[in-house]
């Protein structure tokens, strides 16, 4: 019998990067949960498919930390939807996360290039 696996994302996104993606998406304007997941998928060229099992916990966590706020609106199809928007704190957090991500990716890139190539140059 296989060991019960802990709940996992389909693509192993670090928790911080999911937050980053959500905040970035909301920068384009307020959006509901389904819309956010579709938008991330589209913007990443169908590569990143956000698991709804991680999306909603992330959204609620972000709300608790007051980086996003939410309100109920009626959509075009006359449906009640909960729409999230970025707060001022959230904007600051987004900037922080972005710069951290850029630092991280730069560091990884440097680690992947062989050092002797650098010293030759």
């Amino acid at each position: 019998m296989p060991r019960k696996l802990p709940y996992q994302n389909k693509i192993e996104l670090l928790q911080g990067t999911l937050d980053l993606l959500i905040l970035q998406t909301l920068q384009w304007g307020p959006q509901h949960g389904y819309g956010i997941s579709q938008q991330i998928r589209t913007n990443s060229g169908e590569v990143l498919q956000v698991d709804t099992g991680s999306l909603y916990p992330a959204l609620h966590r972000l709300e608790r930390q007051q980086w996003v706020s939410s309100e109920w609106k009626v959509s075009e199809n006359n449906q009640r939807v909960k729409v999230y928007r970025l707060t001022a704190n959230g904007k600051k957090q987004l900037a922080t996360e972005r710069s951290r991500w850029e630092q991280l990716s730069e560091a990884i890139a440097r680690a992947l290039n062989p050092p002797n190539e650098e010293s030759e140059a």
Binding site: T52, Y56, P57, Q79
Partner: protein, 875 residues
């Protein structure tokens, strides 16, 4: 505020539901637009979304406070599951109630004595001060020593002395003899508790020929004077004398030095310390309060320095020389050190019982856990984490413990009343025993502990891997680890039961040995009571006449064989009349060295009534009156130590002060156990009541009866009252009862240990039964196979028995080593038996084996009656 959180919670739940629902709808909508059918769209969306419930739960965790919700959920679930199995719940709860209740009861009794500090301010600074007797044992101090210490010592804020006083209160209601204390004026200052009404004593009250004043207790005030606050300043009649009440003590005050004392009056001794007076008698207890900043060692040193450096102003007679120094110990130690070993042993025993109860309930939980395997397997498959399951089970066991604890408080209340009723009379602070705050805290604490302890092992077992087997129904696989744990637990139970039973057995044998000792006189059919003369009209002559007439009257009562009076009664617990005895000449060493002996002033016929054998010479008789030559009868031990191999008849001795008269030894009688059956100090001197320098005001009447002694009590009382109707008669008891009371402490411990032992035995037996039953049920198929393959029924019987007896055997072996270690704790209670007494151990082992055989019987019987065709078909 709670309600608002709740409704907020509800609101959020509803919203989350709606949010997720709308997400699903939009996803379906998109798919429909792309051309899928409704069913396909919905199926695809659900698959993609995953487990909605799980998503909700994870999301909810982001909100916080989840643990509280889960806890409440667990509680509700636990209650439901307990209700579904009422039999199990009742048995488990009752077992725990027994264990928790008994432990709380014992703790309530032990706490005020051993753990709490005494109910006085800074109680650890209150000290007892003792002189030393010639044999090195503590001795009461003299008033002279007290005066000297008051003047010379700087370590104490206040020192006080006291002696018993038993006045008769007369007045509107019937005369009543009260217990009281004569104290120096500083008594309440030493204890640190002033009177609640009126005033304390002061120095002017404590002068010789000073005013007759008294302070009464709250109990006496309420009972006898109706709680009337005008009592202060009123006069009451004590021993026919008017005393002014100057104060009333607070209700909460405990007079620990004499718990039954209800009134206090100043000693009023002569501060000029005349020689040969009562001011130099060793009959006072001394207590002092250390000055702040003075340590006990410092005080001890100072006392000894004072003792060894006599000064001119305070000359000391030779018998109060303080040559051996002075002893000091804290009041708390003084009061509790005697009972401490017994109480600690009893506390240990009850905790063992609690442990056995816990083991039993753990076993029950494990059996139940095995039944619920399917339920937990299902929950795990639905996604419950292992820690969640463990938490659930622990909550259930805590719930069980709380139910047991609540019931246990009822048991504790009963237990405490029983303890107080059973308790030996000398138990200090018996009035403070009750189910109070600390007891509740203790009960709560152990309930929580028990709940966790009991649930831990079953929780770990049930939530372990192998949950898939729970979903299958077959009994082919027995969860081997589970059985092993249960068997280990039973072995532990048997071992603990053995320890308790061995302790009980050793105490039982001690009691037997104790009562096999010959007290030196015939204790059967002997009635005793104390007769007091009170009032001013009793001078020496009147007193002697009263007692002589009373003795005559009592002898006439039908059923009475003989009667006599004595100033002290052996084994009555009331022996304080000891004096230094000085022989005129002694072949063994220095005649200056005094023997300490107990003085008995007896009427003619005493020895005959008590059946104390005469060894040499003659007994005291009616010819030994006041004017006749002073005669004394000594005990055999005294004769042997002073005149080994010689005839002591005709030798002369002095009792007490150096200028006392010489008594001539006229006879030697057999030794009598005096303070208790255990102690062997039996030096005694017997003189006629009429030949002592003062007439003892209270004498013990001993009556030998033909039949049942107790039934003669009314007739005898009437006989005495026919002589003088106003004299109190108290402490009526048969000698057999007094004998039993003298071993009260041991008996108390024995009764408790017996009770615990029986409980432990029953619990261990049910434990064995439970495990074997479970084992047989699980192995039904195996047994069926064996029977089908040709095993006989008796083989199966033997199989089960062997299993059961192995468990018992292991338990016994482990228990033996435990018993050897544990009995060290009760060594001080044992008498005449070693703690490794083989007879006791053999007896207990036999008992355990017999009980186990009985416990094995039913499961074995059931196993032997298994019908193989049924079991094999059920596959």
């Amino acid at each position: 505020m709670r309600l608002r959180l709740w409704s907020q919670r509800r609101q959020r739940e509803v919203e989350l539901d709606e949010e997720l629902h709308s997400h699903l709808q939009m996803a379906v909508q998109d798919r429909l637009e792309r051309g899928e059918t409704l069913e396909d769209a919905e199926a695809a969306v659900r698959r993609e979304f995953g487990n909605v419930g799980l998503v909700k739960e994870v999301t909810r965790q982001m909100w916080g406070w989840v643990w509280l919700e889960q806890l409440l959920q667990d509680f509700r679930y636990g209650l439901r599951s307990l209700r579904r199995a009422p039999g199990f719940t009742i048995v488990a709860a009752l077992t725990l109630a027994l264990g928790i209740g008994a432990s709380t009861a014992i703790f309530s009794a032990v706490n005020p004595i051993l753990f709490e500090s005494l109910p006085y301010p800074h109680a650890d600074r209150v000290m007892m001060i003792w002189d030393f007797g010639p044999d090195g044992s503590p001795l009461y101090t003299t008033f002279g020593t007290y005066r000297e210490l008051v003047e010379r010592s700087h370590s104490f804020d206040a020192i006080a002395v006291m002696r018993p006083w038993q006045p008769t209160l007369t007045g509107a209601s019937e005369p009543e003899r009260l217990d009281g204390l004569r104290v120096s004026a500083s008594y309440f200052q030493v204890l640190g508790v002033p009177p609640a009404l009126g005033r304390d004593f002061d120095a002017s009250d404590d002068q010789i020929n000073g005013p007759k004043v008294a302070i009464i207790s709250d109990g006496l005030w309420k009972r006898r004077f109706g709680g009337d606050i005008t009592i202060v300043g009123r006069q009451i009649k004590l021993d026919d004398n008017p005393y002014t009440v100057i104060g009333v003590m607070p209700g909460a005050f405990e007079n620990l030095l004499a718990p039954s004392a209800q009134l206090w009056s100043p000693l009023q001794y002569d501060k000029s310390l005349p020689p040969q007076s009562r001011e130099w008698g060793h009959h006072l207890r001394m207590v002092g309060r250390l000055r702040p900043g003075v340590g006990t060692d410092q005080a001890k040193r100072e006392l000894n320095t004072i003792a060894h450096t006599p000064v001119a102003g305070f000359s000391r007679p030779s018998h109060a020389s303080l040559d051996s120094g002075l002893m000091m110990n804290s009041l708390q130690d003084d009061m509790t050190s005697g009972v401490r070993p017994a109480l600690l042993a009893v506390l240990g025993a009850v905790l063992l019982v609690l442990l056995i109860a816990c083991v039993n309930v753990t076993n029950l939980l494990m059996a139940r856990g095995a039944q619920r395997r399917g339920e937990f397997a299902m929950r795990a498959a639905l996604g419950a984490a292992r820690s969640r399951l463990i938490r659930q089970l622990l909550t259930e066991s805590l719930l069980l413990a709380i139910i047991g604890g609540a019931l246990g408080m009822v048991v504790a209340a009963f237990g405490v009343s029983a303890l107080v009723a059973l308790s030996p009379p000398g138990l200090p602070r018996a009035s403070a025993i009750g189910v109070d705050g600390p007891a509740f805290a203790f009960a709560f604490g152990i309930t929580m502990l028990v709940g966790l302890l009991v649930g831990m092992i079953p929780a770990l077992h049930v939530s372990r891997g192998g949950l898939h087997t729970g979903l299958q129904q077959s009994s082919r696989r027995t969860a081997g680890g589970h059985q092993l744990t249960r068997r280990t637990l039973v072995v532990v139970e048997v071992a603990l039961a053995l320890v308790l039973l061995v302790s009980a057995g050793l105490l039982l044998r001690s009691m037997q040995r104790l009562f096999a000792i010959d007290p030196g006189f015939d204790t059967s059919h002997l009635l005793t009571m104390q007769v007091q003369t009170s009032g001013q009209r009793f001078d020496a002559d009147t007193t002697h006449r009263f007692f002589a007439q009373s003795q005559e009257a009592v002898s006439q009562v039908p059923g009475v064989t003989s009667a006599a009076f004595t100033s002290q009664l052996p084994l009555s617990g009331d022996l304080e009349d000891g004096y230094g005895v000085h022989f005129e000449s002694s072949p063994t060493g220095n005649p200056e060295a005094d023997n300490a002996a107990l003085r008995y002033a007896v009427s003619p016929g005493y020895f005959e009534t008590m059946s104390i054998p005469l060894r040499r010479g003659r007994l005291l008789n009616a010819h030994d009156v006041a004017d006749a030559p002073l005669a004394v009868v000594i005990s055999e031990s005294l004769a042997k130590s002073k005149f080994p191999g010689q005839d002591p008849i005709g030798q002369r001795l002095r009792i007490g002060p150096n200028d006392g008269p010489w008594y001539t030894v006229v006879g030697v009688v057999g030794d009598v156990k005096q303070t208790s059956l255990v102690m062997s100090q039996s030096d005694a001197v017997y003189i006629p009541t009429t030949q002592w320098r003062f007439a003892d005001k209270a004498l013990w009447l001993v009556v030998r009866a033909r039949g049942d002694a107790a039934t003669l009590t009314p007739a005898i009382r009437n006989a005495i009252w026919s002589v003088d109707k106003d004299q109190p008669i108290v402490q009526v008891a048969t000698m057999d009862n007094l004998l039993a009371a003298s071993a009260a402490e041991r008996r108390f411990a024995l009764t408790l240990f017996e009770a615990f032992g029986i409980v432990a035995l029953v619990l261990a037996a049910t434990g064995i039964y439970g495990v074997l039953s479970g084992s047989v049920t699980e192995r039904t198929r195996e047994i069926g196979v064996r029977l089908a393959l040709g095993a006989s029924r008796s083989n199966i019987l033997a199989l089960v028995f062997r299993q059961g007896m192995t468990l018992t055997g292991l338990g016994v072996v482990i228990g033996l080593s435990g018993a050897v270690a544990a009995t060290q704790a009760i060594v001080t209670l044992l008498f005449g038996v070693s703690r490794l007494d083989p007879i006791t151990y053999l007896g207990v082992i036999t008992l355990l084996v017999c009980v186990s055989v009985i416990a094995c019987w039913v499961p074995a019987w059931r196993a032997a009656r298994v019908d193989p065709s049924i079991t094999l078909r059920a596959e």
